[in-house]
Symmetry: C2
Subunit: 169 residues, 2 copies
C-alpha cells in the first residue's frame, strides 16, 4: 500500500514534468517564431534603410554644389569681352552639367510647364496675355531632381490671368 | 501480472516521451540561440553596410565633379584681360572648393610632403638640388580625400637625387 502510494506520487511528478516540458517547448517554439519574424522585418527594413542612406549621402554631397553652378551661370550671363577665357568658362559649365547628370541629377523642367508645387517654388507672378494662367513663364533659379526625389525646387515666376479671381494672382 | 506489465509499459512510454520532450526543448533552445546570434551578426553587418553605402554614394556623386574644378582652375591659370569676369570666375572657384569641403572632401596635401603611394600618384620625377629625393615638388592634378578614404590621388612630380641608385630616378 505504501509502495503503491509512492508509485502514484512518482507518476504525478512525472505527469507534472511532462506538462512543464510541453509548456516550455511550446514557449521556446513561439520564441523562435517571433525571432524569425523580427529577423525578417529587420532584413527588409535594412534593405530600405540602405537605399535611404545612399540617397541621403548623394543628396548631401550634391546640394552644396548647385549654388556653384548658379554662380558660374550668372558670371557667364554677365558676358565678357575676353572671348577665349569666356569659352573656357562656358566649357566648364557644360562639364559641370554633365557631371551632375553623371551623379544622377537632372534639371527640373520649368518654363512652359504648368506650375507644380512638388517641383517649383513660385517667387512671384507675371501678368501675361500670351500664356495661360498657372504656366511657368520664367525660371529664376534652376531646380534639380534625383531618381529618388527632388534635390531642390526650381524658383519660378508664374503667369497670372488678367481677370481677377483666377488661380494665379 | 498483466496489469503490472501494462503499467510498466505505460511508464516506459512516459519515460520515452519525457526524454523526447527534453531533447526537443534542448534543440529548440539551441535554435533560438543560433537565431539570436545570427540576428546580432546581421545587425552589426547591417550598420557597417549602411556606412559603406553612404560612403559609396558620396564618392559616386563627388568624383565626376572633380574634373569640373580642374577645368575651372586651368581656365583661371590661363588668366584673362577681363578683370571683372575673371574675378567672378575666381569667386566661383572658391565657392566650388567650399562646397566640396561642405560635402566632406578635403584636398590631399602634396607639395613639400614625402611621396605617399596611398595619397599620391607619381607621374614623373624631377632632378633637384634643393629638395630631398622622394619629396613631392609639383602637383599636376589636385587629389581629394573623404573621411572614409581617398577620393582620387594627387598626381605629382617627385624630386630625385642627382646620384644614381637613389629611390627616385
Amino acid at each position: 500500500m505504501d509502495a503503491a502510494r509512492a508509485d502514484a506520487s512518482d507518476r504525478a511528478v512525472e505527469a507534472d514534468e511532462l506538462e512543464r516540458l510541453r509548456q516550455a517547448l511550446e514557449d521556446e517554439r513561439q520564441r523562435s517564431l517571433r525571432l524569425l519574424a523580427d529577423f525578417d522585418n529587420f532584413r527588409r527594413r535594412g534593405a530600405r534603410e540602405n537605399e535611404a542612406a545612399r540617397g541621403d549621402a548623394r543628396r548631401a554631397a550634391l546640394l552644396p554644389l548647385l549654388p556653384v553652378l548658379d554662380t558660374l551661370e550668372r558670371a557667364l550671363a554677365a558676358g565678357s569681352m575676353d572671348a577665349d577665357f569666356y569659352e573656357g568658362v562656358a566649357a566648364t559649365r557644360r562639364l559641370f552639367e554633365s557631371a551632375l547628370r553623371e551623379a544622377g541629377a537632372e534639371p527640373v523642367e520649368a518654363v512652359g510647364q504648368p506650375f507644380d508645387p512638388n517641383l517649383h517654388e513660385a517667387i512671384g507672378t507675371v501678368p501675361s496675355d500670351e500664356v495661360e494662367p498657372g504656366i511657368v513663364v520664367r525660371e529664376v533659379r534652376r531646380g534639380w531632381r534625383l531618381p529618388d526625389g527632388l534635390l531642390r525646387p526650381a524658383q519660378v515666376l508664374v503667369a497670372k490671368g488678367e481677370e481677377p479671381g483666377r488661380p494665379w494672382r
